[in-house]
């Protein structure tokens, strides 16, 4: 009993199959098309096997290893734009998924105490193997309805102000802060401007610069501009392998500088926005490898790697005094910039 449903646009195609009592939704990006047909073959094979007439074990094994090889092939030669596509993959795990995997306990805390509760930034207290942390992150929606609810991960000023409130609370109780970054940008809306989007981000930067507790930042998806940096100034910054971080999205960059939306691939190349680029510029401290096929192909494995990394990094910064933290941050950001001095 196999149900197959698929459709293709120029960007994505979906393969949905209720295998082993579980609905697996596979979304293929354009450059993953070779994988889609292999998975289809695998399903057909498994269907035959389920009917019980032929022994398919060897054939399945063979096909699985072909898939693995193909994946490796595709994923070791990704262009910058393809990595951007991966960072936006609709099945990619988001902040709350990681929190649930990483924290044994987690209490979400809502509201900025001034205007409202932003749904595009979540945060709260949790424990990672017994250590209390304040985790804050952008949150995208997992389906059409939730994407609307989360405003596609684009925060309003309340989101940044909530983040700041939680950080100040963490400071008061000497709790380290972990920020998970995943946003296409701060929301460019009328009300956002009325309520001071720029001021909200600016004061976050100002406060994060001198917060007396450690701040660890992880880009888990999209790291677009001030909207990302608004919860991204800290003692350490790491990026998951297939994420990006820069001042503007490739599409917007293309529309402004090339005056068309069509040069996004070229813009992505010019922006040098991948985790590898960022590490080579020494603007971040490291990269966390993703499972082959990206974080969404094995979210549990990804979450485990992230948890391990957070624990190790927390241990690194645990003994630093507030002065050391603040002075190191000052020195680190002061060193960011390339220019000529005559």
């Amino acid at each position: 009993m196999i149900f197959f449903f698929g459709y293709s646009t120029d960007r994505l195609s979906f393969l949905i199959s209720p295998l082993i009592n579980r609905l697996i939704i596979m979304v293929f990006l354009d450059f993953e098309q070779p994988l889609e047909s292999l998975y289809e073959q695998l399903e057909t094979l498994q269907k035959l096997g389920a009917e019980g007439d032929i022994d398919i074990t060897d054939k399945v094994k063979e096909l699985e290893s072909t898939i693995k090889k193909k994946k490796k092939e595709i994923y070791t030669e990704l262009t910058r734009w393809q990595k951007v596509q991966l960072s936006r993959h609709p099945s990619r795990p988001y902040t709350l998924y990681y929190i649930n995997q990483i924290c044994k306990r987690f209490t979400e805390l809502h509201g900025d105490r001034k205007f409202g509760d932003d749904k595009a930034i979540v945060g709260g207290l949790g424990t990672i193997d017994g250590t209390t942390v304040m985790i804050i992150g952008h949150q995208k929606g997992v389906n059409t309805k939730m994407r609307q609810y989360r405003n596609f991960g684009m925060a309003n000023p309340e989101g940044y102000r909530k983040a700041q409130r939680l950080m100040k609370m963490a400071e008061k109780f000497n709790i380290p802060v972990v920020c998970l970054i995943d946003t296409p940008g701060a929301f460019p809306g009328l009300e956002a401007e009325e309520r001071g989007q720029a001021e909200a981000i600016a004061t976050n930067l100002f406060e994060m610069a001198q917060l007396k507790v450690p701040i660890l930042c992880y880009v888990i998806g999209e790291g677009a501009s001030g909207g990302a940096l608004g919860i991204g100034l800290g003692d350490r910054t790491y990026m998951l392998e297939f994420t990006w971080y820069t001042v503007i999205s490739p599409e917007s960059c293309s529309s402004i500088l090339w005056r068309t939306w069509d040069n996004k691939e070229q813009a992505a190349e010019a922006l040098k926005l991948t985790s590898e680029d960022m590490l080579s510029f020494e603007l971040i401290d490291g990269i966390i490898q993703e499972p082959i096929g990206g974080a969404h192909s094995d979210p549990e494995k990804m979450a485990k790697a992230l948890k391990k990394h957070i624990k190790a990094t927390l241990a690194e910064v645990a003994d630093m005094t507030p002065d050391e933290l603040i002075n190191n941050r000052l020195e680190k950001y002061d060193g960011m910039g390339r220019f000529v001095e005559a």
């Binding site: 701060a186 929301f187 460019p188 809306g189 009328l190 956002a192 401007e193 009325e194 309520r195 001071g196 989007q197 720029a198 001021e199 981000i201 600016a202 004061t203 930067l205 100002f206 610069a209 001198q210 501009s225 001030g226 940096l229 608004g230 991204g232 100034l233 971080y245 820069t246 001042v247 503007i248 960059c253 402004i256 500088l257 090339w258 005056r259 040069n263 813009a267 010019a270 922006l271 040098k272 926005l273 680029d277 960022m278 510029f281 603007l283 941050r329 000052l330 950001y333 002061d334 960011m336 910039g337 390339r338 220019f339 000529v340 001095e341 005559a342």
Partner: protein
């Protein structure tokens, strides 16, 4: 290049050039459409005599208005580098070259130290004529060094913002200037040295989302465009027309993000007043 053209393109005017200006050129006011000679406008600090529209002026114009002719440029030896080998329709090298040629400036910000009625002040002023006043590594570095200078000499700091935002051609480095300038201003704040943020038309994007909004006192010229997202982007997002006066100084004052709006003719007196509230340690000057 002719004075007329330079002004039309919003280019700052340097004292040395001014003597060469022929009087006969007419300049049209963007707001009321009235025409005036350059000389008339200059006498009026480039404010429209009929409708008070504040023409966009450059860093050196502000230095002249505030300091008179006596000021010293700082850190003018720092210039931009195309380290990413950036090319869009033009290469970043070409953009830098033509901006330098057009403006005779070294980058989108100039820093000067001078005195306002015997009270020292450091001013970092941006030039919109230099690649849209965009913030790259040089803008960040000059602000960082201004902060160091102000701490060393216990001198108040003023930044005059006029920018379309971060400089895309420096990619993530331009984004990190938001963090860099905010971190440096936090350091200045811990030293209890006053920072005045003067927002002029236009101040948008990453500049607003960092140093421009971080003044102990934030103020602006009348009717300046100030915001995070540009009006065009917002319009495209919400698919509605924007209300009259949206993202203008008066709107920001009304919503609590500015302390006051100041007419250009009163700028120097107001600065003098502000500085008098924050007497700095004489010995260190």
């Amino acid at each position: 290049m002719g004075w007329f053209k330079r002004l039309r393109e919003g280019i700052q005017t340097q004292t040395s050039d001014k003597k060469e200006v022929p009087d006969g050129f007419w300049q049209k006011c963007k707001s009321c459409g009235g025409t005036f000679t350059i000389l008339e406008l200059e006498k009026n600090l480039f404010v429209c005599p009929d409708c008070d529209y504040h023409f966009r002026i450059g860093s050196h114009d502000y230095f002249n208005i505030i300091f008179g002719s006596r000021y010293k440029l700082l850190f003018d030896n720092i210039t931009s580098l195309n380290f990413l080998e950036w090319t869009d329709l033009k290469s970043y090298d070409d953009r830098l070259e033509s901006a330098k040629e057009l403006t005779s400036l070294s980058d989108a910000i100039s820093v000067a130290v001078g005195k306002v009625n015997r009270k020292p002040l450091v001013i970092a002023a941006m030039d919109f004529s230099f690649i849209g006043g965009s913030m790259g590594s040089v803008v960040g570095e000059k602000i960082a060094r201004s902060v160091d200078y102000c701490i060393e000499h216990r001198t108040p700091l003023m930044i005059i913002s006029k920018s379309g935002g971060a400089r895309m051609m420096e990619s993530a480095f331009s984004l990190m200037q938001l963090a860099k300038t905010s971190t440096k201003l936090a350091q200045l704040s811990r030293e209890a040295i006053p920072y005045f943020s003067f927002l002029t038309d236009p101040t948008t994007g990453g500049v607003t989302a960092s140093f421009a909004m971080l003044g102990d006192i934030n103020f602006s010229e009348p009717k300046a465009l100030i915001g995070f997202a540009g009006p065009r982007v917002i319009k495209e997002t919400i698919k509605k027309d924007l209300p009259e006066g949206f993202q203008r100084s008066e709107f920001l004052l009304d919503h609590g993000f500015l302390d006051f709006i100041i007419h250009r003719s009163e700028l120097k007196d107001r600065l003098n007043e502000l500085l008098s509230y924050f007497p700095m340690d004489k010995a260190a000057q």
